[in-house]
């Protein structure tokens, strides 16, 4: 990897005169690899914004209960299907002060639908860092402070409905925030397992070639021509019903990753095949390094960035897998809350027609998948800072 090779000056850089070009070139030629990658990644604006989106997602996931204002499991059948009701930001005299009107439900005797009207005579102020239901912050401290809430004497469960309520009268915003935590973290175990399988098997395949390579390649080909969803469904349904939802779900992620490692496996194999014939590998071998050492010390570090890129691109697949399985009722099951579990309630068109806001969890699914894809593309482009 020639850090001594100077990349040709870019046309845009010549404006600052020769000295500037030289300084710029020196800066590039002495920069370590990760710095070059970072510079290259930074230029990829879409990927950088995607990175911020993902960071925001994980921040929400980390502090889910803090961002939620209503107890996500608190079901109140009397207030089912309340439409989203935004916060009012300014009082009637124009001064700033967020508040909500309490909602009063009345049965429309022609359609038998409940119609919710705001009672504009009463205004309930919205407070920052208000007290609400109790939870453990970061799993450590008992607290009941939430980002927003209502003053004492009121309950946020029956006053704030940013994104409406579901069929059980539970607050969709609060559930969505907690679902984000589940959906974004539970797949990571599977991704990690795919990573281990992919790097190990792909590495063996690419490094040794010959018979192990043929066997692993055939296995990959077989796994890729299998219709996966029917198999997941079948296996998920065959797991004992007596297991706890989390245990079932962990088994499912393991199953998904047993099939999902093939993409990463192929990628790693390709890189190993390329690297195997490089001079420095030959030199290491002539110096008497063992295979394990060559792979660990000389090959895998070169691939780190590619592996990170491939891993980033594997996360959205996990998210979609979890959402699909839970949506069909064979993945996570209530009382667990995930995007798929929430969408399960929106399965029939009658519900959706009555309460379109039940489809709101579609938005974070698409946004998260898009963001991971863009970030992964950006990292992959940056992973090879000497090419193109």
């Amino acid at each position: 990897m020639g850090t001594s090779e100077r990349p040709p000056p870019r046309p845009g850089d010549t404006g600052g005169g020769n000295v500037a070009v030289l300084v710029e070139e020196d800066r590039i030629s002495v920069a370590p690899q990760w710095k070059l990658m970072w510079w290259r990644f930074r230029k990829h604006k879409v990927a950088v914004s995607a990175g911020f989106v993902i960071a925001a997602f994980y921040l929400v996931a980390l502090l889910a209960n803090f961002f939620a204002y209503s107890d996500p499991d608190d079901s109140r059948p009397a207030q089912s299907f309340i439409p989203p009701s935004p916060i009012q930001w300014f009082a009637e005299d124009g001064t700033f002060g967020p508040y909500v009107h309490p909602l009063v439900g009345e049965r429309d005797f022609e359609t038998f639908k409940k119609v919710w009207e705001a009672d504009e005579t009463v205004s309930i102020p919205i407070q920052l860092f208000a007290r609400g239901y109790e939870y453990k912050l970061l799993g450590l401290f008992d607290t009941d402070i939430h980002l927003i809430g209502v003053p004492e004497g009121y309950e946020s469960e029956s006053t704030i409905f940013l994104l409406g309520t579901d069929n059980f009268g539970r607050d969709i915003f609060s559930r969505l925030v907690l679902a984000t935590r589940t959906s974004l973290t539970i797949g990571l175990v599977g991704v990690f397992l795919s990573l281990v399988l992919g790097v190990t098997l792909g590495g063996i395949s690419g490094y040794y070639g010959g018979v192990p390579d043929s066997i692993i390649q055939r296995i990959i080909e077989i796994l890729r021509s299998v219709p996966v969803i029917p198999l997941w469904l079948g296996i998920a349904a065959a797991l004992p019903l007596t297991w706890s939802p989390t245990r079932i779900y962990f088994s499912i992620t393991i199953i998904i990753s047993l099939i999902g490692w093939t993409t990463l496996g192929r990628e790693v194999r390709g890189r190993f095949l390329q690297l195997r014939h490089e001079d420095f590998i030959m030199a290491a071998r002539l110096c008497g390094a063992r295979d394990g050492r060559i792979i660990r010390v000389h090959m895998v570090p070169l691939l780190t960035s590619h592996i990170i890129a491939a891993t980033t691109l594997a996360v959205p697949l996990m998210i979609i897998a979890e959402t699909s399985l839970s949506f069909l009722g064979l993945g996570l099951r209530p009382p667990a809350i995930s995007w798929g579990v929430m969408l399960q309630d929106a399965q029939n068109v009658q519900t959706v027609a009555q309460a379109i806001w039940m489809l709101i969890p579609v938005a974070p699914v698409i946004l998260a998948v898009l963001a991971f894809n863009f970030l992964g593309d950006g990292v992959r482009d940056a992973a090879d800072p000497y090419g193109g």
Binding site: E221, L231, G234, I235, A236, A238, V352, V365, L370, N373
Partner: protein, 329 residues
């Protein structure tokens, strides 16, 4: 050429073998064999059953034998066209499935056709007019298509149809044809309903193929032979259409083999959302009611169908790419 066909066929058979083992495992995994299920049902209906009778039944079905022998017996029956009995429906599995298998095939294949019809022209357009407004729109829609799980697309389309067109986009037949015997009118009705599932299922694959087509054609377009062709005065259409497009089609054709399993797989979920009379809803209901013989049979049939599709796409690739035909690859 024959070596290639033989190799692909052998791989297909091997894949099918793996799928059959998994299907068998799915049938076997839940606690209790199917005799105990049958006995429980008999007991429920008030019939006294003796242990001897149970043992007799087990011996008859080979359930007291080693698991490998059981697999052999099951596979032997399957190969003779006997897929077992569904407990829930109390009917042979094949009867339950009925014409759902051909309808499943029809939906998957039309989704594939839709994918190719949409993706190849758009991909070519995107490559020829790189960085044009059309290219950017296609790229954006492609990313969106890739990021949207197809069952969500189905839900959104159902809602849109309900809201704006005031029709139900679900199903493959109108109400009056749903149970009617096959006729020309029913076929026409089917063709009217087919586009929705085809579009829903094909979108993600189309997005992928657009990217592949575009990338390959862009690489090919820069080759010196294209410049030469232009220099010799060929029209743009001929200079691109005659050779570069054909070369760029090879990777596209080989990715069809990878796309097809995804379509079959996605069809299971989409058909549940759109309540299509295909295999998907039956598979789901059989799994939810632990009717494992039915579920195992459906998984096996879907697997066989997929393997067949992949094999056919391999043959198509051979027809397209002379390097494979003449054994250099």
């Amino acid at each position: 050429m024959w070596a290639y066909i033989l190799r692909r066929a052998a791989l297909g058979v091997l894949t099918l073998f793996v799928i059959s083992i998994i299907s068998f495992a799915i049938i076997q995994l839940p606690p209790g064999d199917f005799v105990s299920t049958a006995l429980a049902e008999l007991a429920e209906s008030g019939t006294e059953t003796a242990d001897e009778f149970a043992a007799q039944l087990r011996a008859e079905y080979g359930l007291d034998r080693h698991i490998v022998v059981q697999y052999g017996i099951w596979m032997g029956r399957v190969l003779q066209g006997d897929l077992g009995t569904s407990f829930f429906h109390q009917k042979p599995v094949l009867e339950v499935i009925g014409d759902r298998l051909p309808l499943s095939m029809l939906v998957s294949v039309s989704a594939l056709v839709f994918t190719l019809l949409i993706a190849i022209p758009i991909g070519i357009y995107s490559a020829v007019r790189q960085y044009s407004a059309g290219d950017h729109i296609a790229t954006f829609l492609g990313f969106l298509g890739l990021a949207t799980p197809n069952f969500l697309l189905a839900l959104v389309m159902l809602y849109a149809g309900f809201l704006w067109l005031d029709v139900s986009l679900a199903g493959l037949f109108s109400v009056e044809y749903a149970t009617a015997p096959w006729s020309l009118a029913k076929l026409g009705d089917l063709l009217v309903h087919l586009p929705i599932p085809a579009i829903v299922l094909g979108t993600a694959g189309a997005a992928q193929l657009i990217r592949i087509t575009r990338a390959n054609l862009l690489d090919e377009k820069r080759q010196p032979y294209v410049t030469t062709a232009r220099a010799k005065g060929l029209s743009n259409r001929r200079a691109i259409g005659k050779y570069p497009v054909r070369v760029a089609m090879n990777p596209v054709a080989s990715s069809v083999g990878l796309l097809f399993p995804n379509i079959v797989s996605g069809a299971v979920i989409v058909s549940v959302v759109l309540s299509l009379p295909t295999m998907g809803p039956v598979l789901l209901s059989s799994l939810l009611s632990q009717d494992m013989y039915l579920a195992g049979a459906i998984i096996l049939l879907l697997g066989a169908f997929t393997v067949l599709g992949v094999f056919l796409s391999d043959l198509a690739l051979m027809w397209l790419d002379p390097r494979i035909r003449h054994g250099n690859l």
